[in-house]
């Protein structure tokens, strides 16, 4: 049998290996961001951002897809926010832990695990076909809002739980009702945490593709109302890249996608830090 390696020696080797694997992984992240930025940033001009795609996106810009993305974010949040925040308020302020809350939590967790393709199928069968909304920003927004619900519920719940109990007691002792206490004391203190959830939801709307193709469609026209079909940036990028329509425009769109996600994640992170600082 070979001589046993000295444990300290072994530790040094393992440590070196683990560090290099970690370096490799983090290297991939930076590589992805740099690669897309180097290829894509030169494409981004004011004109690229403000003109509509021409000839299926072979030339022109991405204006209509930006508008469509913004509409989609708006609709999704307008639905998901009240539902998610309301659910979180109920779970934290209006009930005690019980079988019921366990079931609700379990359902919410399962919903979080549903892959987007199934969401897409459902959105298509239910909103597009059964409700007859057709491919539209409204169909897509409603489907997306279901996808965002678990995140918004969880982040809101966590930030509400972090609000000191004494504040509620003070408010109740002043004869203030539960709902007024929630809106005047609890929610303002929990706001940064709630905003974090919303910001993550925005990121999800920007990056999602499968759900959108099935529910919003891929029309390149500038959407005029929520009942119009449209094409978000991510879908546009997918079609440009997959059909090989225009590599420069694909890189440009990818760069915008990554930059906006980066920006949004950083602001979510920043807000969460602010929140921690405030409650500590």
């Amino acid at each position: 049998m070979a001589k046993r390696i000295n444990p300290l020696m072994l530790q040094r080797i393992v440590k070196a290996q683990l560090w290099s694997l970690t370096g490799f992984t983090i290297g991939i992240l930076f590589f992805i961001i740099f690669f897309i930025s180097i290829k894509g940033l030169p494409q981004i001009t004011l004109e690229f951002l403000t003109s509509n795609p021409v000839d299926m996106g072979r030339s022109g810009g991405i204006f209509s897809t930006i508008v469509c993305t913004l509409y989609l974010i708006f609709v999704s949040l307008m639905i998901a926010m009240p539902l998610g925040v309301g659910a979180a308020i109920y779970l934290t302020e209006y009930t005690r832990e019980s079988r019921l809350t366990h079931i609700i939590r379990f359902g919410t967790e399962c919903l979080a695990g549903i892959p987007s393709i199934i969401m897409g199928l459902f959105g298509f069968a239910f909103f597009v076909m059964a409700l007859g909304l057709g491919w539209s920003i409204l169909s897509g927004g409603m489907t997306m809002s279901i996808m965002l619900l678990p995140t918004i519920i969880r982040t809101t719940e966590e930030s509400i739980k972090a609000v000191p109990y004494e504040l509620r007691e003070v408010s109740f002792s002043l004869g203030v009702t539960r709902w007024q206490t929630v809106t005047k004391v609890v929610l303002p203190s929990a706001l940064p945490g709630i905003v974090t959830g919303i910001v993550l939801g925005i990121a999800r709307c920007i990056e999602e593709t499968a759900v959108i193709i099935f529910t919003v469609g891929s029309s390149l026209r500038l959407p005029e109302s929520f009942f119009d079909s449209g094409r978000t940036m991510a879908v546009h990028f997918y079609i440009l890249a997959r059909e090989g329509i225009s590599m420069p425009n694909a890189y440009g769109t990818a760069a915008i996608l990554i930059l906006s996600i980066l920006f949004i994640n950083l602001s979510a992170y920043y807000l969460a830090r602010q929140f921690l600082k405030k409650i500590c």
């Binding site: 004494e166 504040l167 007691e169 003070v170 002792s173 002043l174």
Partner: protein, 251 residues
């Protein structure tokens, strides 16, 4: 004197753990009742029953009756928000709401429907004066209440309760952990308030009870051992345990 609060055979338990047993007690109107007793004897619990803050805790059990001006406040269906507006509470730890001094005071009245700015300003000034805090904060009403010192925060909490114009004020060891000057100011405040308010003061500080109260209740392990005028209890206590407690032979 008229009885403001009457407690009849009041028992209370958390999770089957009995904390108050068959307490009978009376709080006279426009006076200060002191409640004293060693830690964990149920003082805070008793106070929280008076404005039904005990409702917030799961698995509690209340028996007996508590009358406020002749109305049983333990009866189901009672509007607790209205009760809490009449019976204000100051906690042992000062808890300012995370907003400005002015907003802390205006919080309650505003939610009870006082919208008029002038009226609110008057109310805030009057409450702060009563709590002897006005001179210290009158120039910075819009600053965060978190910036005040501990003693100032506690007086702010008293003022916040006063701004509700309650009938009864409950104070749970309000000077716990405060410096002697703040403590003195609070005691003075209480003395001046009893003209027009009924006050229940829980305190672990025997001297404070002797100095400020009119009547005293002595609680021990959830039992009311003795109840009477402050003068009597501190000069001729009937129960040996009361005597032991007052003379400091107790924990």
């Amino acid at each position: 004197m008229a009885a403001k609060i009457v407690v009849k055979d009041l028992s209370f338990s958390y999770n089957h753990q009995r904390v108050l047993s068959a307490v009978n007690l009376m709080v006279e109107a426009d006076s200060i009742l002191g409640i004293m007793g060693p830690a964990k004897s149920g003082k805070t619990t008793l106070l929280r029953i008076f404005n039904r803050l005990c409702d917030l805790i799961p698995h509690v059990r209340i028996e007996g009756e508590v009358f406020l001006d002749g109305e049983n406040i333990l009866r189901p269906g009672l509007n607790v928000d209205r009760l809490r507006k009449r019976v204000g509470m100051v906690f042992d730890k000062p808890v300012p709401l995370p907003r400005s001094i002015f907003e802390n005071l205006a919080y309650g009245p505003r939610l009870h429907g006082i919208k008029d700015k002038k009226r609110l300003e008057e109310l805030v000034e009057r409450s702060l004066r009563l709590a002897q805090l006005w001179d210290e904060v009158k120039d910075r009403l819009n600053e965060s209440a978190m910036k005040l010192s501990g003693g100032q925060q506690q007086r702010l909490c008293i003022a916040r309760t006063l701004a509700m114009e309650p009938e009864v004020i409950l104070l749970d060891e309000p000077t716990y952990g405060l410096d002697p000057i703040s403590t003195l100011k609070i005691e003075q405040t209480l003395q001046s308030l009893k003209e027009s308010y009924t006050i229940v003061l829980v305190s672990n500080n025997t001297w404070q009870v002797a100095r400020t109260t009119d009547n005293v209740a002595f609680l021990l392990m959830g039992e009311l051992i003795e109840y009477g005028s402050t003068h009597e209890i501190f000069t001729v206590p009937k129960d040996k345990r009361t005597d032991d407690y007052i003379s400091g032979r107790f924990g």
